[in-house]
Amino acid sequence: MATNIFSIGISGLQAAQAGLVTAGHNIANANTPGYTRQEVDYTNAIPTASGSGFFGNGVDTVTVRRLYSQFLTSEVLSASTQSNALDSYYSQIQQLDNLVADPSAGLSPALQDFFTAVQGVAATPNVASARQAMLSSAQALKSRFDVIDQRIQDLRDGVNEDVGATAQEITNYAGQIADLNQRIIVARSAAGGQPPNDLMDQRDQLVAQLNKDVKATIVVQDDGAYNVFIGSGQPLVAGVQAYTVTTLRDPLDPTKVTIGYKTPSGVVQLPEASLTGGKLGGLLSFRNQTLDPAQNALGRVAAALAQTFNAQLRLGQDLNGQPGTDLFSIGTPRVTPSTNNTGNATIAGAFDPANVGALTTSDYRLTFDGTNYALTRLSDGNVRSFATLPQNVDGFTLSLASGAAVAGDTFLIRPTVDGAQSFDVALTDPSKIAAAAPVRTSQGTANTGTGKVSAGVVNALNANLQQPVTITFTSPTTFDVTGTGTGNPTGVTYTPGQDITFNGWTIQISGTPAAGDTFGVGPNSGGTGDNRNALLLAGLQTQKILDGGTASYQGAYAAFVSDVGTQTRQLQVTSSAQAAVLEQATTAQQAQSGVSLDEEAANLIRFQQAYQASGKVLQIASTLFDTLLALGNNT
């Protein structure tokens, strides 16, 4: 019996020592990221049976255990991957937000200055300085479009770089997790199934960091290894095997760096929609939901401005009496064939100046199934089918420039993405600004009636636009028309104020003409003081042209600013809400797994005292043994 007291004392000493070591380890790792506090599990040793009952045999140290909750940890992971996605989206969109509404850096001031200059030309059409000012402010407008577009381009380049760096990180984490899987399996079997807590913490920390990059799903295997999946179920780590995530150019849009997955047969593109969460998810969302539409919206303002302005200028006449020429130049809709196409069709895009109002900020995908083309508007999924090209849709025209498409061929059409970048000033000679109208009206000097003719409006280009046309009244209610291109109708009924349209112009005659009265329409030669076309140009500023005739240029730009602002605002709110969710999840998880120094201090005292007490047990056992030895000495 008495011999047992030594082993009891020793088991107590060892147990207390284990407790002290663990408390010390906890204290040492209090600030280690991913560390889970540990506890020693004790049990009372198997007792020894005797006639007088079971005598205890001290304490057994069973294992050292992590205070780890799979549930709380996965809560933190999912909150963290969300929070990181929103944070990275928010930090990107903030840059755009700062750019667009800045009163000095946005498009607005340049647009206003330009139209002020147009008004200047309207006020003094034959003053060279006013015309020069209009050209200069057109240049300023062009460079403002450039600056904003360049900034968007910079953001796009930044996203591309970040996507690449994140892909690299993901691959690194995959390798490290696979490595730790291996070490954990080995360590566990070497220790007879005891958990290698600290290796497991390190692996969980890597999983947490991986989730900050992209949402990853964990499946725990029987041998303790983690299998990790990303995207729509692509394995990133399977046991000790790690896979590689890499980058590639989007086959439909070479300007986009996107995520690929290495398989033995080559790199496959991972659908961007499946890569949610984490920094990567945030970057991709930013690019698809904000950056592309933003660049399109800006480009649309540029494309619409250039087209409508040029169209009006072409209806005018410059200071030299020549027909008006384009002030702005604008590129064409960008059409990119997929690199996977097997046909050799080249699809050409062009703007449709007659339907500027139909332009959208969306991109389109054109697919060919062998007989029909299907054009999908990506913003809302609207699909239009047609068997032949060319086709006019949404303010642009698609035509087959060369070759032929094969079933399965796909093209990406981005009508307005290059609008802002390709917007340029085509005119250098101020005298070529068409401020005047090419025709003017006159009334016969021998007229005896009170008929008056309006100044006339040019609606369309016509080869006979400037042909002299004479309207001769044969009676107060009828007139004849003579002149090339009119078909010389006779006996036309006269209604005061009604439109009279020939050769691309429209005039109105009012009052009471007398028989024999004549009215003429002819070229506006020498009309240097005429500002009719300049007034119409200035009127474009407030004309509702875009969005099917509901928004002016400035209105469309304001809507774009409002969109960016609203998105930023939403992200600000959701990202801070998500940060709060993450904070709560982390607090709950830490409440379970985090180190409390006060608690460890108490444990230190507890195990110190236990150690001292066990020492006392040994001392008493020793004293007892001494007593026995002394018995022999006395006899």
Partner: protein, 406 residues
Amino acid sequence: MRIATNTIYNLSVSSINRQQADLLKTQQQISANRRVLTASDDPVAASRVLEISQADAINTQYGVNAQTASGRLAQTESTLGRIGDLLQAVRQNAVTAGNGSFTASDRASVAQDVQAMYDELLSVANSTDGEGNYLFSGFQTDVTPFAPSAAGVQYLGDDGQRLVQVASGRQIAVSESGADVFMRVRASNGTFTVSAPPANTGSAVYTQGTVTDPTAITGHQYQIVFTVTGTGTTAVTTYDVNDVTAGTTVATAQPYTSGGAIAFDGMSLQVQGAPASGDVVQIDPSKDQDIFKTISKLVTALQGAADDPASNARLQNSLNDAIANLDQALDSVNSVRAGVGTRMRETDDLQSSSDDLSVQYKQNISNLQDLDYAKAVSDLVQQQNNLQAAQKTFLQTAQLSIFNFL
């Protein structure tokens, strides 16, 4: 609940971070004096500000345009005033020249005066604005509008009126076509003209006539042909009225009394004096006769008149024609001038309403994006207090540890 030591630090730090961010935001707002620093601060306000600032810029531009228009109109107005004065002076001379006691040389000197006024009128009609643009040449501002030629003064300008946008939906004409002012002036009473061919030998003087019934006006050419039967005291003068256009006779062998009204087809005129047999008074629908022609005809009439009854009658008729035509010209100039004056007043009104509107717009923009200073400063103080409290309590909480007692 169990609290991990790190949680105490992390929560405190993130709370302090948040409060510092709020404080910084308020500080930025105060230093920029704007509530809306970026579009995300208030997306609706940000886009409204863009729209209103465009409206404000356009409004300012309209104000500038109205000022330009006002200046141009003022110039046109004063030029028209000068033209009116000249016409008035010519008319005065025409009246004076009708004085029966005037001799041919008197009339010749009047003719000289009138010729000088004619020259001045031509130069005023060709006047330019400050930028060298001709006032009355329509769209062709570089073309001298009125050019003398053998056939009289030619108008080389056009009917164009230059417009200035002074409000949304309102374009105001700032130039007048020279044709309207100088060329398109209806002769005589505006409806028909009365004339006597130079072949007349009698001393009949006609009046310009009046329209008595506008609905009966045919627009035809008529001739009143006088016939004198008998001689001396038994002479009887009758007249026929022929509708030349229709080839019909309106009245035959009507007895003629000097100064009596001759009325037909809605027209009435008087003939005075003694027409010779076969003398004709012709009536034509009124056509435009330019002011220069009116005056040059007056000069010619004044220069060429001899002192016999037929010549006197011709001179009298010419002077009557000239006075009637000058009245028409004055009417024409005055009505154009009145139009210009109305538009000047409109531009003045528009300028002041544009100023008012501008204040409104600026107020709107300010309401949308500017900072409520008092509120911002009070927010700042509150946020400072909150931050200080968080910092203090963090320090105190962090100091609590059992290790302090070990």
